[in-house]
Assembly symmetry: C2
Homo-oligomer: 237 residues x 2
Amino acid sequence: MTETTPRQRARIETEAQIAAIGNRMVDDDGVDGLSLRAIARELGVVSSAVYRYVKSRDELLTILIRDAFTQIADAVDEALAGHRSVETLALAMLEWSRGHPNRWALIYGTPITDYEAPREQTVVPGTRIMVKLAEMVAETRNDAEAAPESGAKPRGSVATSESSGRQRQSMVAALQPLRQGLDELGLDYDDHVILETITIWVAVVGLINGLRFGQFGPGFDDVEDDLMSGVVSRLGE
Amino acid sequence: MTETTPRQRARIETEAQIAAIGNRMVDDDGVDGLSLRAIARELGVVSSAVYRYVKSRDELLTILIRDAFTQIADAVDEALAGHRSVETLALAMLEWSRGHPNRWALIYGTPITDYEAPREQTVVPGTRIMVKLAEMVAETRNDAEAAPESGAKPRGSVATSESSGRQRQSMVAALQPLRQGLDELGLDYDDHVILETITIWVAVVGLINGLRFGQFGPGFDDVEDDLMSGVVSRLGE
DNA sequence: CTCAAATCAAGAGCAGTGCTCACTATTGTT
DNA sequence: AACAATAGTGAGCACTGCTCTTGATTTGAG
């Protein structure tokens, strides 16, 4: 057992405190409100002291971003444990965004200027939900193939309208980067599943962004969930 | 004819210069790079002097936001004049976002902390595209009703799956705020059109955000248009 | 137990930001 | 020519991230 000296304990304690205060500051005032000097003040310490624990503001940002990705993915997982459906996933994301609007913006809004999230630290937690969605979409598709119950199921309708052949061709290339990303996680889906996944994903994230960022104007506070359900069900036809 | 004195001319000239420099700064370094002091420097004037022309940084922001909304809406209109379709609209937005990523973020990304865009100055230019989209969706629907050519057209499929009745009910309430917004612009559409419009809208904006903000990882530079076409066509089934 | 090494905190300082205020130039009007 | 409106100046306040030197404290090895 690697024993921890009191100093080490104090260190990780302080680091945790800094992250906690930082999270609270983002929650309260957005990412612009995140100030190392203010954190120092709150810790009752001079400003330069916090640089002993975080190398820079950007490093703290990375921690907060990783935290946020993990939190929302956990929340979604928990919700899906109750009822596994795309709607549940979407509503769980929406719910989390409502509780932490500024944290939502931190991960799904405009990236911070001159800050590049180190992919090796953020990719895995940042893709958990989308991967889950792809899984579920793939399952649904398998179910449909195994038991095609209604003629209304849009099987061949993918290749409707003109230019279907060319479309199919170029689609493969267009989906290549995403397929590659899934590959690296050991997943392999066909084009239809990937396109379906990305469509649902951008719609869900787009709707939440619109609501959180006030792009649709006011008056949506009481109908957010219904709107999301409406959009998701429209997508599921 | 109200004649303009040289001084007035110089004034609006300087105002235009400030806006132009501001736009360039946002284009180059994002909204965080917008600095009144830097503008003053570029104008060869002391920093406090610019406050003669803009009351505050926020006021300049409002100007830039209004500009951006107008520009992208103009670009979309121009594209639609060539070929009127949802895909054209989506691709035009995507194209504009590619040319002005930071301006895109300014209007469709995370809102600026402690800044509230004065609605009376931004609502009209900010809703032009969405209104156009609603128009087009409504037209398509009318066409489908006037000439129902294929049985594949999803007429009754709106009320599929369980809970259709309740769904329909709550949908009306959920769409109420949007309907109200359209009402104020003298437009009146039924629930189906509104839901369809918002679904397409959030998907298109969501996809562009994902691409611009790098949320899907790298490797999409050459396939953006195809991806958008794929998503839009998937939505149009 | 002592003493050097590692760690931590302090405080001053640099360069940058938005914004205000008192003051001086310049310009336009009567 | 005198007066008022406008334009520009420069100092200053409060804030930010970050660095560097100096001093205090804890740690572990001899």
